[in-house]
Symmetry: C2
Subunit: 225 residues, 2 copies
DNA sequence: ATCCTTTTGTGAACCGATGCACAAAGTCAC
DNA sequence: GTGACTTTGTGCATCGGTTCACAAAAGGAT
């Protein structure tokens, strides 16, 4: 029922992977509004990208569109979800239950995408044992045991910068190979471990750079997102 | 005292701009430890990048190194800060004082880089008037007036997705041209307005994709940060 | 003054990503 | 069935960014 050549090619470009969640979000919105099929043009607008880029991105997953018609919304949601690995659900642990860790633990937007907060850890005895968004805060000493017991495969680091590398080393030693880091440090990890970082301070600095340019000379190029 | 050709070229590559804050962070650490000069190799390691890339990045700002020696740490800190616009300080407003907005408002890492939280807004009458990290929560009706009065030039959006576009339109109308968006929506803005987005859910989905690959076939390429 | 060592700054090859533009493939009306 | 119309999938030119590799520059030793 599918063409024989490359039904699902290994090796999707990184830039494409980073956009798939965007398409997925737009598609979910459409599915909710009862839209059955969508053209690359309309979906591209909803996701804020160029339609040729969108088509090329989707072509890496397979030929799921119908010429003259567009893409079946439900079917595409399924294909993208499967490609991203969202058909299973992922046990996530958060380490560091401070300002940020609390906000993350209480956030509903993760669960709705198949990410289940399976554990939260902290080193502060004042915090350990507290109930955060329905979860008991575990002591950091339990890190390895709890990760193993609950099958945690993704760890979110929300500790102070000074503790991040040490915690990172421990979670890696415990077998975790996917880390989302909020601490403003460059983490050193062995090959095979993925680290993604979110640094709000860097984002503000980039905005400041462009803002300064706008204020300064009347020669500038802007926008992006 | 400087070469005549292009002492400070306009048009620094976007990829370079995104890394300058990283170099700055590493340099601050070195300055604190009393390091006076640093080679591109050492700084590159501290920032987690390739040294040729670092040198090319710095060369866009000017020729601030000394062959055979390296870069003067203090001087380079100053040059990068100036380029990024961090020699002035920036008034930032946060809109939406929920889980995330609170964490951001209380975060010290912004102030230390020249970003001053000048105002926080919310629509919920329960929250308006509260004291958050020493700031009085303003009603969203005051948005335009307060932005103008306090010279706010960067706005952080931490409202629910449904409210984000409307708030965005209002801050843009009030003259703001730099926005950091945490809401999971594609914002539409006029030319000349910079939007940067932070989407934690997307980061997790990208990690899940790679995690799935690792678990699946024994043919994979990983790491990055 | 000359040589040797170190390290910068950059030319050039390379690589991945973008976007145009169009043939191929499908739908729909009649 | 035929023809007009729509929209996908992709070849190709282009672009921005990365990395290699080295000549030029600086400093220190003798
Ligand atoms: N709050 C923000 O908006 C924000 C923004 C950008 C970056 N960050 C970064 O995120 C991280 C957390 O920020 P925060 O504001 O929540 O800080 P925080 O100080 O409020 O919380 C840190 C928590 O980590 C715990 N902790 C310390 N050492 C630990 C260890 N070894 N193991 C486990 N837990 C440990 C502390 O007990 C504390 O509860 C920091 O690195 C910060 O730079 C925060
Ligand atoms: N909490 C997280 O960890 C997290 C993670 C990723 C993304 N986000 C996104 O960040 C945003 C905020 O998340 P949150 O968890 O803080 O949500 P929240 O519901 O706790 O807070 C939202 C706040 O915005 C206020 N608000 C609503 N409409 C407003 C308006 N028109 N003007 C001003 N204020 C208004 C609400 O009163 C509330 O205080 C959401 O879009 C969410 O999807 C949050």
């Amino acid at each position: 029922m599918k063409s024989p050549s490359h039904p699902r090619d290994r090796g999707i470009p990184e830039a494409t992977v980073a956009r798939l969640p965007l398409y997925l979000r737009a598609l979910h919105g459409m599915a909710e509004r009862g839209v059955a099929t969508v053209s690359s043009e309309d979906l591209a607008v909803a996701a804020g990208v160029n339609s040729a880029k969108l088509r090329k991105d989707l072509s890496h997953l397979g030929s799921y569109g119908t010429r003259g018609v567009g893409y079946d919304v439900e079917y595409l949601v399924y294909q993208i979800s499967r490609e991203l690995g969202l058909t299973q659900d992922w046990a996530v642990a958060i380490v560091g239950v401070g300002n940020l860790g609390r906000a993350l633990a209480g956030y509903g937007g993760f669960v709705s995408r198949g990410f289940r907060i399976a554990a939260v850890f902290d080193a502060d005895p004042e915090v350990v044992g507290d109930d955060i968004a329905g979860l008991n805060v575990e002591h950091i000493d339990e890190l390895e045991a709890v990760i193993e017991r609950r099958g945690v495969s993704i760890v979110v680091l929300a500790t102070p910068a000074a503790a991040a590398q040490e915690v990172c080393d421990r979670v890696v030693a415990a077998g975790v190979t996917s880390i989302l880091n909020f601490a403003p440090v460059v983490l050193t990890v062995p090959d095979g471990v993925d680290v993604r970082k979110v640094d709000l301070s860097i984002e503000l600095q980039i905005l400041a750079f462009h803002e300064q340019r706008k204020a300064g000379g009347p020669l500038m190029a802007v926008d992006s997102q």
